[in-house]
């Protein structure tokens, strides 16, 4: 039965739902169409805590944000059509939609918002078609949504945030991630994510590629080799990994099929993932009735997708006369400020450059601050000079937080977590967190709030030979008071033994394990490793 609505939104991910909230809330008849059973898009696979500021729901896990957004969209009056794939855009504009694989209908709308998200880039190597070789997104869905582990010994290709975060989540699922293979000379994602898996023993091999996957009915081994600066494998550097799954996380690109079918102008922006529908700052494409938002309008993070969804919603309301142009402009300006905040810092360089090219103000090519991007970040390095790292004198006095956050990433939950205001990030939110070591009493509250799990506490005055160290812990099984654990350095190498003194109740899934450790190693021990039955790995 054909439908006719004010706004048809394709894709119930963060962008689509935020646009639905904005438009439905102010009276537009909104239909959100999504081919999956549950709305929420990527959010329902993203069990990690989000970055950004409190306004961006930072520190909250994606899966939680997804539930909240869907609830508020429903409350706002948006109608959801799930298990329904929008298969085509036709003049009108109209969408041809396959509803539940039982009926195909035409949905005509005054405005269509394409929030179809992004899809994973493929990378081909001999054997890449073997079962067990899959996209990192597929592995993440299989584990976080279906609770099925795609393999027990896994190799990850790609060290962008997806590669690092999915590797960590596979560890949480109980798999062993043997290595992250990165063709570029340095890690692509955030240092805090890389550190999380490095201290769990995952080897991060930069300037390496998978040259071949082997196996008969499934992948059973992978050959990895070092590459030169033109990414050509160097003979003689081959290494063999016994694996039963290989995940590919080599970037995402916008899903542009519907935009192209509608006739929207497409531009190629490498910084935003490749082909992207051209759009203006109102998120309107080259066709007045078609809008884009989220990764479908250029690949970024989910937090940015939400803001772009809101901007598109506001612009559509303005088009349809639900709000006055001047109000729309003020709301958009505010949203653009928030979006720009998310794009600050070195990691934002690429995205900012992409949007500068898109909006044609090349001249304003943002100052590409390459500091702190990754040059000085080497996995396993001790950031003693970071503003969150307390002085030796302070360490000697008693419990204090140690914040190993060394990159200007848009994130400030630690600031609001500290009741004593001992941590300041300030404006912009990409500034490094500074610890006021006198105000800080080492209470450890910030440990569980940090989205990157980059904070520990050290009480070097615990005894003359021992210090009490508090580590974030998000694995099962979890050690108990009195258990002996292995203390590992930033690369997961066991360098000492320790005894658990206390384990906190999980705060949104994150516990803090306090263990006593040799005092002389407090600058090296950064995690614990524990195997049920006492003997650590």
């Amino acid at each position: 039965m054909n439908r006719s609505v004010d706004v048809a939104i394709v894709g119930a991910g963060p962008a689509g739902i935020c646009a639905a909230i904005e438009t439905a809330r102010r009276g537009a008849r909104v239909l959100v169409i999504d081919e999956n059973h549950t709305p929420g898009g990527q959010l329902f696979k993203q069990i990690h805590k989000f970055f950004g500021s409190a306004r961006h729901r930072a520190g909250v896990r994606g899966i939680e944000i997804g539930r909240e957004l869907v609830d508020s969209a429903v409350k706002a009056g948006a109608e959801f059509l799930t298990d329904s794939a929008a298969l085509g855009v036709f003049p009108g504009p109209r969408l041809a939609v396959n509803v539940g694989n039982e009926e195909a209908i035409a949905v005509s709308a005054k405005r269509i918002l394409l929030a179809t998200g992004a899809t994973e880039n493929a990378v081909s190597f001999p054997g890449w078609t073997l079962p067990g070789v899959m996209g990192a997104g597929a592995a993440q869905t299989m584990l976080n949504v279906n609770r099925v582990l795609p393999g027990n010994r896994i190799l990850m290709i790609g060290s962008g945030n997806v590669g690092l975060v999915v590797s960590y989540q596979l560890l949480q699922g109980g798999a062993a991630v043997l290595a992250v293979i990165e063709a570029a000379p340095r890690v692509g994602g955030y240092a805090v994510h890389a550190n999380k898996i490095a201290r769990a023993g995952v080897e991060i091999l930069t300037s390496h590629v998978v040259t071949e996957a082997r196996g008969v009915d499934r992948v059973t081994s992978a050959q990895v080799a070092k590459v030169d600066d033109r990414w050509t494998p160097i003979k003689g550097t081959e290494r063999e990994f016994e694996v039963d799954a290989i995940c590919i996380a080599t970037g995402l690109n916008a899903m542009t099929e519907l935009a192209r079918m509608a006739g929207c102008r497409i531009v190629h922006l490498r910084e935003l993932g490749g082909y992207t529908p051209w759009h203006d700052r109102r998120m309107c494409t080259s066709l007045p009735e078609i809008y884009v938002a989220g990764d479908a309008a250029g690949v970024e993070e989910a937090s940015s997708a939400m803001e772009k969804g809101r901007i598109a919603g506001i612009s559509i309301l303005e088009d349809l006369g639900f709000i006055a142009p001047c109000d729309a402009q003020t709301e958009r300006d505010d949203l653009w400020k928030s979006l720009e905040a998310l794009r600050q810092g070195p990691f934002g360089n690429t995205v900012r450059r992409g949007y500068d090219r898109l909006f044609g103000d090349e001249s304003r090519c943002s100052s590409c601050t390459s500091a702190h991007r990754g040059e000085d970040f080497m996995v396993g390095s001790a950031p003693r000079k970071a503003p969150g790292y307390p002085s030796d004198t302070r360490l000697a006095k008693g419990p204090v937080a140690v914040i190993e956050c060394t990159q200007e990433i848009p994130c400030n939950p630690c600031e609001s977590a500290c009741a004593r205001h001992a941590i300041t990030v300030g404006d912009p939110i990409t500034s490094l967190p500074r610890l006021d070591e006198d105000k800080c009493n080492g209470c450890g509250r910030c440990i569980a709030y940090c989205s990157g799990l980059a904070i520990i506490t050290i009480d070097a005055a615990y005894s003359d030979t021992e210090a009490l160290m508090g580590f974030p812990y998000e694995f099962l099984p979890c050690p108990n008071k009195g258990d002996e654990v292995s203390l590992v350095d930033r690369l997961g190498k066991p360098i000492a033994r320790g005894r658990v003194m206390r384990v906190t109740k999980p705060m949104d899934g994150t516990r803090v394990v306090y263990a006593v450790a040799p005092k002389e190693l407090i600058h090296d021990i950064r995690g614990i490793k524990w195997q049920a039955g006492g003997e650590s790995q």
Binding site: G88, F90, P91, A96
Partner: protein
């Protein structure tokens, strides 16, 4: 004056089935040819058709003769071109759903039989034994074992290679932007990628021929007519002979204005006009085809796709469960003078137009192209 980048005896505008066949037959006779294509080979109607080579749908006369001659030429083409053009001869079957259609087909096919075309009449039982997947409501059919199918993409690859083997050139991504003329002769074809000097210019630009003609102030009586098509996932063999509805022929036979402009209001397939179902060698089902005057809009429409799917599923119910994976639309050169437009037109003796075959282009291409090549090689044209 733009730069002349190539020189030849015959410049052929249009990299579709007609242009490439003419290029092949001319170069096979030692003529120096350049094929000029605005995009890629096979990017026009040739690449968007049901690939059926049908004689059975033609009234006795020149068109039927050319279709029969072409059918025989196709038998040896694969070897001649040394390429698998996926030519198969499984015959064609025109099905009848009403007694009126059966009657019209009896008269129509008797005339064809008299003209020498091998056609057989099958009653309801014979029809269903021949193609068990057909719907029970079909009351009979006529079958022509001479009719076959070809893969247009493979065919153009074969012709491309053959032309190059004979020394001919193929200029793709070279839209024609104008001509140089001297007296009553066209001397150069101007394209985005430079000019091509030629003794004879052939316009085989299909539905775009009028746009080429305008550059020489020649009016070519052609209009683009859109045909939408659905392609399904590849499946195991479901049909042998491809299946066409008798409605179009019955309507034509009763001199109902078949070509009325049905792109406006009603359902382009309301009478199942021109419904056709074929299966490629790869196993994909090809479901077609609408006939709409919508100018140069090569898009698909909800109405067109819906009506094709509806009608083809009533003819072969098993199609209901088969997945459509692609849809496309081709702009076919519809002739306003009832038949193909072939020969020198306008004041330029060496400007030869070859178009206007609408949906039959592939079926009659070999004999049409050979005829044109003979006229040009012998100097009769040009």
């Amino acid at each position: 004056m733009a730069k002349t980048v190539d020189e030849c005896q015959v410049a052929i505008i249009g990299g579709g089935i007609i242009g490439c066949f003419i290029g092949y037959y001319l170069s096979a006779r030692g003529m120096d040819v350049v094929v000029i294509e605005k995009a890629d080979l096979c990017s026009g109607a040739t690449g968007a058709n049901d690939a059926c080579l049908m004689a059975q749908s033609k009234k006795p006369g020149p068109k039927l003769d050319m279709a029969v001659e072409s059918a025989h030429m196709f038998e040896t083409l694969a070897d001649e071109l040394d390429y698998d053009i996926e030519y198969v001869r499984k015959g064609s079957m025109i099905i009848q759903e009403t007694e009126e259609e059966a009657q019209a087909m009896r008269e129509f096919c008797t005339a064809q039989k008299d003209a020498g075309l091998p056609v057989e009449f099958l009653d309801q039982r014979e029809t269903h034994r021949a193609q068990p997947c057909l719907s029970d409501h079909i009351i009979g059919s006529t079958v022509c074992p001479l009719d076959g199918e070809v893969n247009p993409f493979a065919l153009l690859v074969a012709l491309d290679r053959a032309i190059r083997r004979y020394g001919g050139r193929i200029m793709t991504n070279a839209p024609v932007v104008g001509f140089e003329v001297a007296g009553n002769r066209v001397t150069e074809v101007a394209t985005d990628r430079g000019n091509v000097r030629a003794d004879v210019v052939v316009c085989a630009a299909g539905a775009y021929a009028p746009l080429i003609g305008n550059m020489l102030r020649i009016e070519i009586p052609i209009r683009p007519r859109r045909g939408q098509i659905l392609i399904t996932e590849p499946i195991a063999p479901l049909i042998g002979a491809y299946v066409m509805s008798a409605k179009a022929i019955a309507a034509k036979h009763r001199a109902v204005a078949v070509h009325e402009n049905n792109s406006g209001k009603d359902d382009p397939m309301q009478f199942g006009l021109g419904m056709i179902i074929s299966q490629t060698v790869n196993g994909n089902m090809v479901l077609g085809v609408t006939h709409e005057f919508v100018g140069y809009d090569a898009g698909t429409s909800i109405r067109g796709l819906g009506s094709i799917a509806r009608y083809t599923s009533t003819i072969i119910p098993a199609l209901k469960g088969v997945n459509v994976i692609r849809t496309l639309a081709g702009l076919r050169p519809f002739s306003e003078v009832g038949g193909p437009v072939i020969g020198p037109i306008g004041e330029y003796a060496n400007f030869i137009v070859v178009t206007g075959h609408e949906g039959d282009g592939v079926a009659v291409a070999p004999s049409t192209a050979k005829g044109v090549a003979d006229k040009i090689a012998s100097g009769a044209w040009g």
